[in-house]
Symmetry: D2
Subunit: 232 residues, 4 copies
Amino acid sequence: MELRSDMTVKLMKHNARDADVATAARVSTIGAESMEPGKPVEGLINYLMRDRHGSPFEHNSLTFYIEAPVMVAREFMRHRAGWSYNEESGRYRELQPVFYTPDHSRPLVQVGRPGAYLFEPGSPAQQRLVTREFRSAYLWAYEHYTLMLSRGIAREVARSVLPVGIYTSFYATCNARSLMHFLSLRTRDEKSAFPSFPQREIEMVAQAMENKFRTLMPITHEAFARNGRVAP
Amino acid sequence: MELRSDMTVKLMKHNARDADVATAARVSTIGAESMEPGKPVEGLINYLMRDRHGSPFEHNSLTFYIEAPVMVAREFMRHRAGWSYNEESGRYRELQPVFYTPDHSRPLVQVGRPGAYLFEPGSPAQQRLVTREFRSAYLWAYEHYTLMLSRGIAREVARSVLPVGIYTSFYATCNARSLMHFLSLRTRDEKSAFPSFPQREIEMVAQAMENKFRTLMPITHEAFARNGRVAP
Amino acid sequence: MELRSDMTVKLMKHNARDADVATAARVSTIGAESMEPGKPVEGLINYLMRDRHGSPFEHNSLTFYIEAPVMVAREFMRHRAGWSYNEESGRYRELQPVFYTPDHSRPLVQVGRPGAYLFEPGSPAQQRLVTREFRSAYLWAYEHYTLMLSRGIAREVARSVLPVGIYTSFYATCNARSLMHFLSLRTRDEKSAFPSFPQREIEMVAQAMENKFRTLMPITHEAFARNGRVAP
Amino acid sequence: MELRSDMTVKLMKHNARDADVATAARVSTIGAESMEPGKPVEGLINYLMRDRHGSPFEHNSLTFYIEAPVMVAREFMRHRAGWSYNEESGRYRELQPVFYTPDHSRPLVQVGRPGAYLFEPGSPAQQRLVTREFRSAYLWAYEHYTLMLSRGIAREVARSVLPVGIYTSFYATCNARSLMHFLSLRTRDEKSAFPSFPQREIEMVAQAMENKFRTLMPITHEAFARNGRVAP
């Protein structure tokens, strides 16, 4: 059994540059043919973001390979518009014993009221408790899973006992617009016009994706950050 | 702890009649205003289905309330186009100890090759094994969950140990077109033009939904069945 | 030939009440079954709108019948997510000579720069010019259309000469969330957090739709208006 | 004034290879990491197409630049799922006098009944008629447009008189799955499992897109053609 506290986020392929946003926007106004590649695009992209002209941010694509617990994949795949997914199948594969456990940076205790929860780290005793309980529960569940498999029970049946802390892997393809919408909801940021309260585990995935996005499309990302982190 | 083998599917509200399909189609050809309510619509609906004119089947809505294991909800919510969801939250609620266990009608043993699996019931010993292992695994997991809650651990953290066989509940809203697409993939039918191999548990949900659909829109359903169970 | 300056917006059917928003939201937190029908929902709906919990606003549907010029239908049908359409076909029907002409309330002159245009009414001479030119152009185009039809040319070919000011009719089905997104972009409102600059003709359609929406879902509409007219 | 009978279809950028389909599919079964780049993918792609596993065909993107008459753009943009658009704006730009006229290969006369129309070329007299009427109608309309512009009328108002045969330009981004769905409806093919009857003008665009697609993803295209030209 392997216990992990981190998420894997790899950018597998992409087709995403700031210049493409400008090209798509200009077809509306001065015609795509006349685009000058060298022309500065900062002002245009900032204007599009501010005035919520979203469609120019869709003509690109980013494909991520992600490893995260099932509970994170569940929240992730609620994002529908502009997202495509392929996930590891528990029907066709024997799932491997890799499970999520919080590290010391993960606050364990929730205070406040629904919709405005605050988190506190938790005492050393609580941290030890979580480590112990997670390990014990995961071991027990996986033993039951493998026992059933060894007795000929179908994978799709036996997996019922596996916990939502087990890691899964999936491909997720999006465009800059659908990615910014995802980031606006799945990261916490003081400068956001609409504060969100994502679960820490999906935020870890989102932050890693945002880092890739910032590198690929720095001007678009800067405009996103400057305009309240609201997707156009 | 409660063990269930069934799925709950309730039609909460709807706005779906065969006549609406005809009304929407006729706006294309003879004008919506001139629609004659009493005119037979069988021929028109069958023609639309056969020639894959899908959009007239979208001007309606069906809202279902569903209780099913998390593993079923996971597959369900991969359906994006024309679907809306709201699901019970493991972040905001303490999840209740209701778990899925197969009954005697559920084949437990898989034979054949990927993509064309066949199932066999399993021996009495295998059936006893599954019942015993499921119960044991569920009890153990839920005890760990409640222990962590009692020590102040946040629900969203503690839930990591809960199995995908735990029941969740959700609202799902669709239209006749998106529902037929779902049914074509999540039911098994010899008359289907494109055979599917859904997991039995989601098929149970799909069949209950199909029964509601057949009652509400009998002519549309009949045309769907007659034309290879392919969504238009 | 008929000249019109107005838009037709009829609510053909609907399945949309404020209470449904609350019901869908509560499945996340206190369980759908325990919903109390009489409980006030204002606070809950306002909270959902403010914190951008959009999915509870999707479990409903509104079907509109709309008559508007082709140029309006073109802008309208760019709205994809959560929208379904069926439109009168120029391939299957002979299109009728009904055309759009601005009335006196429609400003005719544009000043300012792209993205921040202002409009002025136009002089009496300009108003007479538009009336005269529109009528002349429409008459000429429609005569060419009917001449070609009378000589056996296919409708789908002959229609090439018809202007985008000709009226078309279509069904549009949406839910409260997709409708609010449409309204945020297709109406101009000083209280909007993100000002839009829609063409006046589509705004006329949007305003009529907003009136129907306000009547059906007054609490949702009030929360939309109060929170910057941003769709959740 | 320029009269054109052709469509412009340029592949502006892309991120689409057959190998990507296989990579996405394999994450479900043997893990993305273990993919062998050199392994033949024909069998896998054909299996995915035949059994309608659609999602692996979504992890790629193709961006087209298209010039076509407004009536074609209207039909094109009815495709919603998996499509993104940016179009030349008649509000921000003065539209240029480029119009569509059928060439000799375009059948002008429609016989048969709705849903199963046949076309015949038309007599030389009919061909001369169409050429003459189109030219006359377009000239007249454009003269009225420019006259109004010269008198200070806003572009978004004056354009009402422009015909749907005027050329527009737009960017369209899709993935292989949404493209195949488009092709299945917008091309006519005897080997298709579900025959379609697209208007010839949009079919010209679709055929040019299919040529690009076949070059980029020959194995996927071959599987599409072999399996009844039905999108998975």
